[in-house]
């Protein structure tokens, strides 16, 4: 055999071995990824993170009785009546809120 045939054969062997190795490697990698995805889906860790469960920490409003306070003096506050038409404001705002 001539030298050129030997070199070509070796080259083909190397290329074939590389392609085979690359293909097997990719297949194995895909299988691993699929397994990982499967695991993630099974435990649903993402879904758990999104659904945040919080406890209601709003302060409880306790009963406070003002009945022990006995009214003695005059009425609270001062009254004043002003000429003021709020109806136009109410109508305009009602229209805006409906939009």
């Amino acid at each position: 055999m001539s030298d050129s045939v030997i070199i070509t054969t070796n080259l083909l062997l190397y290329v074939t071995a590389f392609i085979l190795g690359y293909t097997i490697g990719r297949i194995k990698q895909n299988v691993g990824e699929q397994l990982t995805e499967t695991n993630r889906g099974f435990f649903k860790p993402e879904a758990k993170q999104k659904k945040l469960v919080k406890i209601d920490e709003k302060k409880f409003v306790t009963e406070v009785s003002a009945y022990t306070l006995q009214k003695k003096g005059k009425d609270l506050g001062t009254n004043v009546v002003i000429e003021d038409n709020v109806n136009s404001a109410v109508s305009k705002l009602t229209l805006l809120k409906k939009k």
Binding site: K59, V64, L69, Q70, K72, G73, T78, D84, L93
Partner: protein, 334 residues
């Protein structure tokens, strides 16, 4: 029928339409002062001395003077009157304050005209310049709703500056900026076509001016408050009265601080729309009633780089009642 209620640190104001084109406002100074008699004779003497004043008698025999009479009594005794609220909210730690606020609100709001009459009251926004564990708007709102529901109202809360927008921006298609300068804090709302887009508050206002002026002059807060409300001064101008001179100076600093906070908070704010026209800026509240306030505020807005184009800076038509009026309008719309 519906009612609007401005629950402020310094004033509680009820608004109701009593006839077509007529609105009745009931103003109450949000303050109390406790006098505890030492002997039974003192009890009788104090009670006699309080005739003609607004007060209640507690189960332990002490007298609780309410409203402006409380401030007058405190000044008389070189003391400071107390407040049932602090910086816009009721404190969960102050049981006595809550008890007194309960009494005051029930008296001011009165009985509903019909079962479940609508009542809208105002609450402050979350402050941008302070993180205080005791500042709990949710708790404050729950307390007010609970006690007004007990009386028979269907009560709902609204932001204080939003209420001011409803009262004052009718001719601007409900688009603009409103600032409610209360005693405890400044509430801000930017509104676009009736929808609030940005709401926040800052925690320095009229009470801060009183406190700082009191420290500077060695007077009590109540004395400073009384001088401030009855005296003649213009913000930023010298005054022969040392208390008023201090008040004028601290007012200047307060307006500078608030406009800087306002500019910083709104600059590049994600929720701000691109307004096509310059906006009206409306101010209201007891703190804004000082002479020279609006002019200095407009000047400081410009100096401190307010990020929105301003058409005009104006005072509310009725600065002390504007928030209650806005609450009344909201109650009628809801």
């Amino acid at each position: 029928m519906a009612k609007g209620l401005d629950v402020g640190t310094s004033f509680i104001v009820l608004a109701e339409e009593v006839a077509k084109g007529k609105v009745k406002y009931k103003d109450f100074r949000d303050a109390f002062y406790v006098v505890k008699p030492a002997t039974p004779i003192a009890t009788k003497m104090i009670e006699k001395g309080l005739s003609g004043k607004t007060f209640v008698k507690d189960a332990d025999g002490s007298f609780i003077i309410l409203g402006k009479d409380a401030i007058e009594k405190a000044v008389e005794r070189n003391d400071s009157a107390k407040r049932p609220m602090y910086k816009g909210v009721v404190s969960s730690k102050e049981k006595d304050a809550r008890r007194i606020l309960t009494y005051i609100l029930k008296e001011v709001a009165g009985a509903p005209a019909e079962p479940n009459e609508k009542l809208v009251f105002c609450v402050p926004a979350q402050p941008i310049d302070q993180e205080d564990e005791d500042f709990d708007v949710g708790y404050h709102e729950d307390v007010i709703v609970k006690l007004l529901s007990e009386v028979g109202f269907a009560a709902r809360a609204i932001n204080e500056a939003e209420a001011l927008c409803y009262s004052e921006l009718e001719n601007d298609d409900y688009t603009g900026v409103a600032l409610s300068w209360g005693a405890g804090m400044v509430n801000v709302c930017v509104m676009l076509n009736g929808e609030p887009v940005v709401k926040f508050s800052t925690t320095k206002s009229g009470d801060w001016v009183d406190r700082m002026a009191a420290v500077a002059t060695g007077e009590t807060d109540s004395v400073v408050q009384a001088e401030k409300e009855n005296g003649d001064f213009t913000i930023g101008q010298p005054n022969d009265n040392q208390v008023l001179a201090a008040v004028a100076s601290y007012y200047d600093r307060l307006i500078d601080y608030t406009t800087k906070q306002l500019s910083a908070a709104l600059d590049g704010h994600k929720s701000l729309p691109k307004f096509k026209d310059p906006l009206p800026v409306v101010v209201a509240g007891g703190t804004s009633k000082a002479k020279g306030f609006v002019d200095l505020f407009a000047k400081k807005l410009e100096e401190n780089g307010f990020p929105l184009l301003v058409k005009e800076v104006r005072h509310a038509a009725d600065p002390l009642h504007a928030v209650a009026r806005g609450c009344l309008i909201a109650a009628q719309v809801m």
